[in-house]
Subunit: 337 residues, 4 copies
């Protein structure tokens, strides 16, 4: 049984805390949040509450921490955990600053720290199966990858302002998937759009974007994002290879179809948002982390994967501003997995 | 080049005349209809018009006739054609009276006549492929066959009155498909319904029905019919076997899908009616007939198939009135094809 | 918080025990099974184990019991629970003998007992939505209902022998759905098949069947069953009405599609079996039971529903043996819900 | 009745000749091809054959010409036809040289010539319906357009060498669709790939490509091309708007689905190639041309549309070589239709 402390009791923290509590392989021992009462709300799972991350990290009954606190705290908490030998599962992104993230990576590697980054989509059963069957050769060599990722609705501008912008906050998931499927990326081309919310434009960010990624292998990835999608949480992926295509399609809560005088085969809305769509992915991600701590499998996605995705985000931001193809800095390492 | 005369210039006659005219293997030489002017309307295809079927059947430039006239004339025209050695493609049903149909069959067989019955659905590329793949063993031995066949809207009651009723007029197609897929049928159970048009009930007919067919092989067929279908011409078939299932699904004129805030993946209406849904089937049926005349392949569906389908219709009608399982009279010969 | 004792620690008992344990509205206090150690296996959920149902029913910390024991024990446990005022959720069927089931129903009604029967499919989100939208008038008045229900593989013949046969054991779920969708059934026609396992035929049972149900409303229901299905757990339902059709389609664990040189849009297998397909239905069923005990909503499906489904099973069995249309005994009450 | 001469008796010429012959509104009077015997092969449709385009254009019984000859002859034939008042339907592209195409456009406009360019996909019933429903506001304002267009297999390198390359030969169709859906394009970003055939790389061309188009409206188009596609002719389009998404999906020759122990719902291959996929589009295109000559509707897609698509091809080629975002020269006029 792995004793786990969850740091950050917000929306993602609640997911991880519930999954830890439900896992037959782990015990939720601590929940930490600086907001008084926030951690206690998760106490129904039997954990102790704390206002101070340091207390949690140092606790004897904490073998591993799950970091769900705001992005600026990630690097500090990772390093604090690694320093005293605790395993760390940290939410994305590593940091908004690529240099700081790379320094963190170097420090962790120097200390042989056990760190995994929470790119949950790698664990989604549908996308994971597409990846596995691609690796098994079902469609030959991958040549074109198309990722569509659209959120149901844009977050408030106040969130946008401190999120690092669409590429570091939202596309970062897709950059990791591109690294996961395509390997090292050599060139990034990005077009930002402002079509959703004028306040986002005023805040200097895009609210939709299309990004092209040219891989060292010759394959090209396309990422299509929007902060708003009328029909729900649009999460699709197409891997096109020399022998065929593997698609990960949208998912629906039920399988009802309606036929009437004006149309046939109308299905329900797609899944609403990530809590529904990726519920199983979060469970499987935690399980992979627990297994890695137990010595079964790698800490993957690794901190290096987190840094590589961030490098693509930086390159996309620069390309969207300059109209130039941009090479990502240091992002050309092969993704784990 | 086969010289063909079309007898009957109604809706089905027009389809056959156009297909004959467009075939590189046949020439439309005559069109016949007792209604003055009706045959002439099809003269655009270059054929001569006649009011008298006997003139057409006897014409030197007629090698084969396509019989599209009202049902009571079918037997007479088949026999007239066979008598002087002309090949005959006759629309279904052979006759409304099974005894008369069987006598016709015996006379044709005695004369070694060349007669094919127009069960067009056997030639539908989708259903034909399901049949071929079933015969190829893709789903093992067939155990259950489900046919859904619903017309967009009911014909006028005046038509119903002389059509022989739902089982002989509409279900007859499905009975032939059941013979085609399941082989000899031993027992028929039928439930008639009156849910569409009270006038049809007053005329003594059902306007919807479900029929069960137990085959000698042990397989069971289910036919689900309705005279009215809000979403178009519902034409589906499921063959369930020991190793899997083959489905022939509905078809749509376009492949547009719409996703909105209330649903996703709405497709267009299904194909409207048999002229659209079975256009290709009529072409392929004519082609099979032309090839059979040329000695390439059988005259299939045969007159015996027409008689066998009629026997199932009679049995279904009796079962729907008595609530008893009924054995079809003489309908147990193996279907051709 | 409702204190619940689960009686029977087999496959279904384990599902219910886990759902009780996970429910925020209930506490699993006892698990009972006469096999030594069986109940204790479910003790991980924190309940006490017992070999004696009477001990559990009588326990102060048991407000309600969930009956998952073998069918012959159902009536006795229902009556024992009702006698001392405990609420009962009992797995289907009520009993294999309709007379005994009806006597139980009368006794429970006389005692105003709180009893619900575990027809879990009514709670399946897909089928429940079809039902709700039908009631909302989206497809007008229902005219034809088609239920396909096929198990992945047949149970051992030893199970068949004491199960009451395919109609009372397997089709019973579909009979309840037919009652739920169509209201009172007047006539039953059934065809049994033996196509799966010769041992089942030797044991005197069918291993596939098709059943027609004529409702008092004029609608017709068709049920298509098989004990073996190569592609998984085939669970579908089509409600056809005057204005359109609502379908509940099969479900898949993932949404991966493959296109290759020989085919396109291959999806994964359908869900394997009822544990996966109806996991959510079991949760929602338990929740409805807990709410009914709390006075929010009816105990539905009721014991009367259980008796009505059994009457259809008896009628189907008789029809399959005689080839006659059979009226169900006393099964014409309107289903609850 | 419009008298039409077809110039060029290759693959596309044969399609147009057959459609003219079958049209109730037109008569095929001449077919021209410099290869002896080539034109005569189409004489089965009743037209006269010629080796000399000038003879056909000048013929009294030619009101309009359909230009299906090699690209370098297009401008000359357009101008020759316009000069003596004949209407012209010319296959794409107008020319491989944008300057020459623009001069042609100016000359035709000065002469008020009647010229239409054969961008057949605008007439595809599926894509045309997506466009019409977008214009009707079903998905609000378009924000992202994704076009997937992949050929079954690459043409021989000898063809590539004189085709103008992937952007002018293949993507040109998609550029016209982008103009049709998005209006004026301001910026083009392109990534060429070499993944299919090394000989194409040696010939200096790409054999796969992804292109981004930023429209003046703020919308972004993405075009994904490949010269080879294992599963057939992949022709899809997604229009994403503020209120939803309209998709034009792939099409299949039949609607057969197979379910087995390893997968379910495998459909057949998609349509093989453009002759099948766009057969109806070619018919509707010809019909629109005939109607425009009769004064019913515009000559659309216009010569200006042909020039605009060419400008995007030039920009894409430059971008793919430089890695820079490129503004198309003079390609910013609103597309017709």
């Amino acid at each position: 049984m792995l004793n786990i402390g969850v740091i950050g009791a917000g929306r993602i923290g609640a997911i991880h805390a519930a999954n830890v509590a439900a896992s037959p392989k782990a015990r939720l021992t601590w929940v930490c949040d600086p907001v008084p009462g926030a951690a206690a709300r998760l106490a129904e799972f039997g954990a102790r509450a704390s206002l101070d991350p340091a207390e949690v990290i140092a606790a004897d009954d904490v073998d591993a921490i799950v970091v769900c606190s705001p992005t600026p705290t990630h690097v500090g908490l990772i390093l604090a955990g690694v320093e005293i030998g605790k395993a760390v599962l940290c939410e994305k992104p590593v940091d908004l600053d690529s240099d700081r993230a790379r320094e963190c990576q170097q420090a962790v590697e120097a200390a042989a720290g056990k760190v995994m980054i929470g790119f949950n989509r790698r664990f989604d059963p549908t996308f994971a199966q597409v990846h596995a069957r691609l690796r098994d050769g079902e469609i030959g060599k991958i040549e074109q990858l198309t990722i569509v990722s659209r959120d149901p609705s844009a977050p408030p501008v106040s969130y946008i302002a401190q999120s690092g912008g669409i590429f570091r906050d939202m596309t970062i998931h897709d950059f990791d998937m591109a690294n996961f499927f395509l390997g090292p990326i050599e060139t990034v081309l990005a077009l930002g759009q402002n079509v959703v919310d004028p306040q986002i434009a005023e805040a200097g960010d895009s609210d939709a974007a299309v990004v092209l990624l040219k891989a060292a292998s010759g394959a090209v990835g396309t990422i299509i994002n929007s902060r708003r999608c009328a029909y729900g949480y649009d999460q699709r992926l197409e891997a096109f290879g020399s022998l065929g295509m593997l698609e990960g399609r949208n998912q629906h809560a039920t399988s009802v179809a309606l036929s009437t005088s004006t149309f046939s085969q109308a299905a329900n809305r797609v899944q609403d948002f990530f809590l529904q769509r990726y519920a199983e992915a979060y469970r499987l991600e935690l399980d992979a982390f627990i297994e890695a701590v137990a010595g079964n499998g790698e800490f993957s996605p690794s901190l290096a994967d987190g840094v590589a995705a961030l490098a693509l985000a930086d390159a996309a931001l620069e390309s969207s501003k300059t109209g130039l193809a941009v090479a990502p800095v240091g992002g050309i390492a092969e993704a784990t997995g």
